[in-house]
């Protein structure tokens, strides 16, 4: 890793050049919520001016640049001799600008499963390798609890990461690609006052977190509280709509279906992201459903976050972005669910 600084003016030039030459996606306003707060999404941008650099968080996570909601795993072309199968991993290189630390850490968690796991997912790997990530520090929102999950800082998983330290950005350069791209831009060595400002800013950002949850020993607690009435309480509210998993930066469950084209000449195998909250997630051939109750399905969602993933990778799967609550029509709040489980809400 290299540490440099870049002035705001030079960053603007740098990003403007990137946008000119690459497909670049960055946060823009797409809607407003009930309290008139803007809702942001990563969209393709054509100029630096379109980018909402001080955005809060994107409504959907950036995982969909790596795990699209729907993708063709392969296509089949029927002919006299049977069929020919075509598989396409190719993706055009693209840039994501403005990615938050928790979202980069979420990608690292997905890397564990989809790149470094026993069954690497070539489609994911191709997208990951062809995506240049420029991260950006920010003041946490009132509901961000990534600090509790140790995901408010990044040490890898990105190309460039920027922290605003007043007139300039403190810059982490984490790839040779990034280094080469920066060759034509004036960047500066880190001076003593920059280091001071950086640490001060980091401390200030860390002190702003309002939402906390203690996840130590959560994996055991989940087993101990398997029959807890907490699951019924939240399960009664849950609509089993799957929105939480759709927007969650680390949910990667999917379903696969085969589709025959109307022409009867081609077919495809399509992958679609799915959610453990959906009614038929644990339904098997013959129609038996292992989790017909919505409270059980909700419980298993938390199990994967704080028990299953911990068993495999020694850390929670959740990065504390709280997107699941924002997207949840029933306002189901992961911090409150976990606190309930710890009996912290019982006075």
């Amino acid at each position: 890793m290299l540490f440099k600084t870049i002035t705001k003016e030079n960053l603007r030039t740098f990003i403007t050049n990137i946008i000119k030459e690459n497909q670049t996606f960055a946060p823009v306003v797409v809607s407003t919520d009930a309290d008139n707060n803007p809702i942001y999404q990563f969209k393709k941008v054509d100029s630096f001016e379109e980018i909402k650099i001080n955005y809060t968080k994107s409504y959907s996570s950036i995982k969909n640049f790596f795990l699209p909601y729907k993708e063709d795993l392969s296509t089949f072309h029927f002919n006299e001799n049977g069929w020919e199968q075509k598989i396409n991993y190719r993706v055009n290189p693209r840039v994501l600008f403005g990615v938050r630390a928790c979202d980069i850490n979420a990608l690292i968690k997905l890397d564990q499963v989809l790149m470094k796991g026993s069954f690497p997912h070539p489609y994911y790997i191709a997208r990951r390798k062809n995506t240049f990530i420029i991260g950006l520090d920010h003041e946490p929102m009132a509901d961000c609890f990534c600090q509790s999950l140790d995901t408010n800082e990044v040490v890898h998983g990105f190309d460039i990461f920027l922290t605003d330290i007043g007139p300039k950005y403190f810059m982490l350069i984490n790839s040779s690609k990034a280094f080469n791209l920066l060759k034509n831009i004036t960047i500066e060595e880190v001076k003593e006052e920059d280091r001071e400002n950086y640490i001060k800013e980091k401390n200030r950002l860390a002190s702003l977190f309002k939402s906390h949850v203690d996840v130590t020993g959560m994996a055991n607690l989940m087993d101990i509280e398997f029959e807890s009435s907490v699951w019924q309480k939240w399960g009664d509210k849950c609509l089993s709509c799957g929105s939480c998993a759709m927007v969650c930066p680390t949910c990667y469950c999917y379903t696969v279906c085969e589709k025959i084209n109307l022409s009867l000449k081609t077919a495809s195998k399509e992958k679609m992201l799915y959610s453990c909250n959906l009614i038929d997630f644990a339904e098997v051939a013959g129609g038996h459903n292992f989790r017909p109750k919505s409270s059980d399905r909700l419980k298993y969602r938390y199990y994967h976050q704080h028990r299953g993933f911990v068993e495999s990778f020694d850390e929670s799967k959740c990065v504390g972005c709280n997107r699941c609550q924002k997207a949840c029509p029933a306002d189901i709040n992961p911090v409150e669910v976990l606190r309930d489980l710890r009996k912290e809400n019982i006075k």
Partner: protein, 254 residues
């Protein structure tokens, strides 16, 4: 016609309209790019909107619309006798649809309101399955052409028709919409069966549930959520009854 070396028989299909806006029939002719392939899978023997030729040797009868007149009952029963497979096409046929709003009022007051003279004979609106047995229901106001293509393909291939069990919210997220409920507005997407690609929300309108309930409905929770947003129970129930398609979700409320 063959698939992967296996010969297939073209199915003889007929389309009939009852009380409806004919929007579902029009949908059959939409998605023009796929129309030649679509029409190569079926032989249409009776379809007023495209041809005056009429034959009675159909295997599949697609019924659009609900029943709202006595003479329609005999016509339906006659179709049932002739068809091997009867399909309710669209929300009117499956649930009564918008027409069923009429059932909230007395027949006389309705007729008096709408017609000054030549008052017609009319009966309360009924869905097709209240009159004859129905083999397959394809709800939607209007039906989704993409879904209809899939179903016709399954029928031609003799393969299982998979009904989506999850709600519209999944498609809504796929389309990256911002949720109406987060905006403080009403939406029934969370209790409505997917398959329309959340077309209403994509276009800026909430889901009023025309496709009927999804496989897992938590009405009490959704109702409480909407009331919390400041929407009155009266408005919720009024919107819920728009298509007559979600009535069953409130059945066990009391």
């Amino acid at each position: 016609m063959e698939f992967s070396g296996i010969p297939l028989k073209k199915l003889r299909a007929a389309f009939f309209d009852f009380t409806s806006c004919e929007g579902c029939q029009l949908q059959i002719l939409n998605h023009e790019k796929n129309l030649p392939d679509f029409l190569s899978l079926i032989e249409i023997v009776n379809f007023r909107e495209i041809s005056s030729d009429k034959r009675d040797d159909y295997e599949i009868a697609f019924i659009e619309g609900a029943v709202s007149r006595k003479d329609q009952i005999d016509r339906l029963k006659d179709i049932r006798k002739k068809a091997k497979l009867v399909v309710s096409l669209g929300t009117c046929a499956c649930y009564g649809g918008v027409n069923a709003i009429k059932n909230n009022f007395s027949i006389e007051s309705m007729v008096d309101e709408v017609y000054k003279e030549n008052k017609p004979e009319t009966i309360p609106v009924q869905k097709i399955s209240e009159i004859i047995s129905v083999d397959l229901e394809i709800p939607g106001c209007p039906v989704s052409k993409i879904e209809l293509e899939y179903i016709i393909l399954c029928l031609a291939l003799g393969s299982v028709i998979e009904k989506k069990k999850y709600p519209v919210c999944i498609e809504c997220k796929q389309n990256m919409n911002h949720c109406f409920i987060d905006k403080g507005s009403l939406c029934f997407g969370a209790i409505t069966r997917a398959g329309c690609d959340s077309i209403c929300v994509n276009g800026g309108l909430p889901c009023y549930g025309c496709r009927g309930p999804s496989a897992s409905v938590n009405w009490m929770s959704l109702k409480n959520i909407l009331i919390d947003k400041g929407i009155t129970e009266e408005e919720i129930l009024e919107k819920l009854s728009l298509f007559n398609s979600l009535n069953e979700v409130i059945k066990d409320e009391n």
